[in-house]
Assembly symmetry: C2
Homo-oligomer: 147 residues x 2
């Protein structure tokens, strides 16, 4: 399937393998999946594939800029493809993740680059805060529980 990946790998003296294809497919299919979930997904087709291989492959694919990982909340990093571009708003109260189009950040991206020379990556930012549901009753709830 992925002739371009095969080609890229070949140029570097690496090989295209079923495992690599499966991991890449899983990332594309799942989006925001943890290594563990990706592994589970791969194992439905090829049960022998080891989690170690998943980690190694994710690392490889990330190096080739085919996938990307972000730390959305706590522990588990989540992997996605570059094609799946959007901004994550992570509620640090309920953990909910809201996705918004990257265009929302255009101004910010320009400003950051101008002022700090920092090239923001619009595709996989994780912004934290409170989602609508948690923000609204927040003031009242905090007061109530606080006393």
């Amino acid at each position: 399937m992925d002739t371009s990946l095969r080609h890229t790998l070949h140029k570097r003296g690496m090989r295209m393998t079923p495992q690599r294809q499966l991991v890449l497919d899983a990332v594309r299919e799942l989006q925001h999946a943890t290594p563990e979930r990706i592994c589970g997904h791969v194992q439905r087709v090829a049960p022998a594939v080891n989690i170690t291989t998943v980690y190694r492959t994710l690392d490889l694919l990330e190096g080739l800029d085919l996938v990307r990982h972000t730390h959305l909340g706590h522990g588990a990093p989540s992997y996605s493809t570059r094609a799946h571009e959007h901004v994550h708003l992570v509620c640090h109260h309920c953990g909910d993740v809201t996705e918004v189009p990257p265009e929302e950040l255009t101004d910010l991206i320009e400003r950051m680059q101008e002022r700090f020379g920092f090239v923001l990556d619009p595709s996989h930012l994780a912004l934290s805060g409170r989602c609508r549901a948690c923000a609204e009753p927040a003031g009242a709830a905090v007061e109530a529980s606080g006393s």
Copy 2:
């Protein structure tokens, strides 16, 4: 020292202890420190303090909204006080962290709230991208290493 913390704890049937004071002091002093580093700092004064206590205390202080943790890069989360407010630009190439004033995000914060009802927390965001050093030669470097 922290009479307000002592008071808050007392209201909840908890006690102020030297350990808690030391951990809070360490967080205030170090900023962006990992639990391990905080523990090390505390242990210079009180060597008997256990890392377990540091974790438990950080958890407690976070529940009281006195400290906050963010996942800046990989593994270790970093803890800061609310007073230490700024935006982190994390270079996902070299891992460097640039700090910029939270005012840079004012527009974005307003927009997110208006459009999505999401209340962004300006104090401890981690934005990813490439820092000036890594961004400038990026195009050339990638091409060069790619072939």
